[in-house]
C-alpha cells in the first residue's frame, strides 16, 4: 500500500477484474488530464504546447466545470476592487451604492459572490491612464459584462439609468498604516447605461 493510503486491506479482498481496471485507468488518465491541463494552459504565462494539448479535453473540462487556474493569491496579493454606482430614479432622485456592499451583503458568502463581480471585471479593464489603443482594444471584452451588471442594477432598483465606476482601493504599505496615511483610490469610469426608452424588464 502506498503512503497516505486511505486504509490498507489484505491482499485477498476482491478487487476489480483486469479489463475493468484497464477501462477505469483510461478514464482516470482522461480525468487527470482535465484536472492538470487547465492551470497549465490557463492564466498567463502559459505555453503553446499546453494550449494545444488541452484542446481534446475541453469538452470534459466544460462538462465537469474543471477549468480552473488555482492561482490563489498569486502571483502577488493585489488591491481590492469595487464598483460604485449612481442611479437616476424615475422621481428625479439619485441613488448610490457599491458592489459589493460590505454593510448590507449578508451572509458573507453572498458578499463574496458579489465581490467576484468587481474583481473579475477588473481583470479586463485597463487603467484610466492606459494608452488609448489599449483601452479601445479592451473595451469589447469588459463592456458586455458591465452591461449585464447595469441591467441587473436597473431591474433590481427600478431605476432609469445608472453610471458605474470601477474603484481600485489603495493598498497601504506597513509604513503608511503606522503613519495613518492612506493613498488615493484609482477610479475608472465604466459608462452610463439605460434600457431603451427607459423600459424595465
Amino acid at each position: 500500500m502506498s503512503p497516505a493510503t486511505p486504509h490498507p486491506t489484505p491482499a485477498r479482498t476482491p478487487t476489480w477484474p483486469p479489463a475493468v481496471r484497464v477501462l477505469v485507468t483510461v478514464l482516470l488518465v482522461a480525468y487527470l488530464a482535465a484536472v492538470i491541463l487547465p492551470p497549465l494552459a490557463g492564466p498567463p504565462p502559459a505555453s503553446e504546447l499546453a494550449n494545444a494539448v488541452i484542446q481534446p479535453f475541453r469538452p470534459l473540462i466544460g462538462l465537469l466545470s474543471l477549468g480552473h487556474g488555482y492561482r490563489f493569491f498569486a502571483p502577488d496579493p493585489g488591491p481590492g476592487h469595487s464598483i460604485r454606482w449612481s442611479m437616476q430614479m424615475p422621481d428625479g432622485s439619485t441613488r448610490v451604492g457599491w458592489i459589493p456592499d460590505a454593510v448590507n451583503d449578508r451572509p458573507r458568502l453572498l458578499y463574496h459572490r458579489r465581490f467576484m463581480i468587481s474583481e473579475k471585471i477588473a481583470t479586463f479593464v485597463p487603467f484610466v491612464d492606459a494608452p488609448e489603443a489599449v483601452r479601445i482594444e479592451a473595451k469589447p471584452r469588459w463592456q458586455p459584462l458591465v452591461k449585464g451588471v447595469a441591467g441587473q442594477l436597473l431591474a433590481r432598483h427600478r431605476g432609469q439609468q445608472v453610471a458605474l465606476q470601477l474603484v481600485e482601493h489603495y493598498l497601504p504599505t506597513p509604513e503608511e498604516v503606522i503613519q495613518a496615511h492612506n493613498g488615493e483610490d484609482i477610479i475608472t469610469p465604466l459608462g452610463t447605461y439605460a434600457f431603451p426608452e427607459g423600459l424595465l424588464p
Partner: protein, 349 residues
C-alpha cells in the same frame, strides 16, 4: 531494479494481464513485475484499485453536503440576480468567463423565475439528502448536476470555494459515499465485511491527487510574485479592506512576523504535493493546512473556502484514525499476510 528495453518497451497497449495481481497472471506477469514497467503497473494498481474502508469518504460526504446546502441557500437568496434573464451576467455572455465546449447548465433552459427557483431548490434538496445520506448515489449525482449548473451559469460569481466544492462532489459521486454514516445504511444494513470497495479508494485518491494539483499550481503561481519571495505577500491580504474581517494591521509594526508567515505559507504550499505522502511529514503538512485555511477563513472572511479546503485535506486522514476519533468499530476483514502493504510502505497514518 534495472531497466530493460525489450520486450517490455515494445508494448504500446497495456496488457490486461499486467493489471492482474491475484495469482492468475502467470509467468509473463512475473517477468513484467521484475521490470521497471511492472513496478509502475503494480504501483498504479495498488494506488487506485485496492479496496478500502469507505468511512473517510462518508465523512467527506457529510461535510461537502453541508457546504453545498449552505451554498445553495445563498444562491437562493438572490437566485434571479445570479441565474435569471437579467442576471449580473447575461446568459448570452456566460461564455466570456468560461469558454469551454459542453459548458452546460440547467439554468440556461430556465427563463422564468419559478423555473430558476425549481432548479435551485432541487439542488438544495439534493444537498440535504447527500448530507444525511438518503438515496445517496442519486443525491450525489443530482448535487453535482446542480452545482455545475450554477457554476457554469454564473461564472462571474464563483471563486475558489466553488472550485474545491466541485472537486469534492465529483469524488463523492464516484465513490460509495453513503456506505456508512448514512440513512441508507440504517435502512438497508450490510455486513461490515462487505463495505470495503475499490470505488471508495478511487474517490479518496481523486481528492488526494486533485488537492496536490491545486497546491502545486497555487504554489508555483506564487513563485512568480516578488512579494512572496520578499516575505511581504501576507501584508497584501492583511491591508486589503475588501477581504478583511479581522483587523491584523497591527502587524505593520512586526514585519519579521509577516515575513515568517509569508515564507512558511509559501514553503508549505510548494512542498505539499511531496510531503503529504510520507507518514513522517504528513501530520505536519496537514496541521499547516488547517492553520492556513482557518487563518484565511477567519481573517479574510472566506470561511467556506477555508472549510472546503480542510474537508479536502481530510482525505489524507486514514480510516483507522477516524474510527479512533469517532469511536466507530472497524469493519471485519479477512486476515492474510499483508504482502502489498509491506511492499509499498504500509503507511496508513
Amino acid at each position: 531494479m534495472t531497466l530493460r528495453s525489450s520486450p517490455v518497451s515494445s508494448r504500446s497497449v497495456p496488457d490486461p494481464e499486467l493489471f492482474s495481481r491475484t495469482g492468475q497472471g502467470g509467468a509473463r506477469e512475473d517477468r513484467m513485475r521484475d521490470g521497471w514497467i511492472g513496478e509502475w503497473v503494480d504501483g498504479w494498481n495498488t494506488f487506485w484499485f485496492t479496496p478500502t474502508d469507505p468511512l473517510p469518504l462518508a465523512l467527506v460526504r457529510i461535510a461537502v453536503g453541508a457546504l453545498l446546502t449552505w451554498s445553495s441557500i445563498v444562491w437562493l437568496l438572490d437566485a434571479d440576480a445570479f441565474f435569471g434573464d437579467h442576471a449580473w451576467l447575461l446568459p448570452s455572455d456566460a461564455w466570456r468567463m468560461n469558454d469551454q465546449p459542453w459548458q452546460w447548465s440547467g439554468y440556461f433552459a430556465c427563463s422564468s423565475a419559478p423555473a430558476i427557483r425549481l432548479v435551485a431548490v432541487g439542488t438544495l434538496l439534493a444537498a440535504v439528502l447527500l448530507t444525511i445520506g438518503l438515496a445517496t448515489p442519486l443525491a450525489a449525482v443530482m448535487a453535482l448536476i446542480g452545482f455545475v449548473s450554477a457554476a457554469n451559469r454564473a461564472p462571474l460569481n464563483v471563486f475558489g470555494f466553488d472550485d474545491v466544492l466541485g472537486m469534492l462532489l465529483i469524488a463523492v459521486a464516484v465513490g460509495p459515499a453513503g456506505a456508512v454514516l448514512s440513512v441508507d445504511r440504517l435502512m438497508f444494513p450490510r455486513p461490515p465485511s462487505a463495505l470495503r470497495s475499490v470505488r471508495a479508494t478511487l474517490a479518496i485518491r481523486l481528492i488526494q491527487v486533485h488537492l496536490c494539483v491545486i497546491y502545486f499550481f497555487s504554489g508555483c503561481g506564487k513563485l512568480l510574485g516578488a512579494s512572496w519571495w520578499e516575505g511581504t505577500a501576507l501584508w497584501g491580504s492583511i491591508a486589503n479592506a475588501c477581504y478583511r474581517t479581522l483587523d491584523l494591521t497591527w502587524l505593520a509594526n512586526h514585519p519579521l512576523i509577516v515575513n515568517a508567515l509569508t515564507l512558511a505559507t509559501l514553503l508549505w504550499e510548494v512542498s505539499y504535493p511531496a510531503l503529504v505522502w510520507p507518514r513522517l511529514t504528513r501530520r505536519i503538512v496537514l496541521g499547516m493546512a488547517v492553520a492556513v485555511h482557518m487563518g484565511i477563513g477567519l481573517s479574510m472572511g472566506m470561511m467556506e473556502f477555508g472549510l472546503a479546503m480542510i474537508v479536502a485535506n481530510m482525505a489524507f486522514v486514514p480510516a483507522e484514525t477516524w474510527r479512533r476519533l469517532c469511536r466507530i468499530s472497524p469493519p471485519l476483514i479477512e486476515s492474510e499476510s499483508p504482502i502489498e502493504v509491506k511492499r509499498f510502505g504500509a503507511a496508513t497514518q
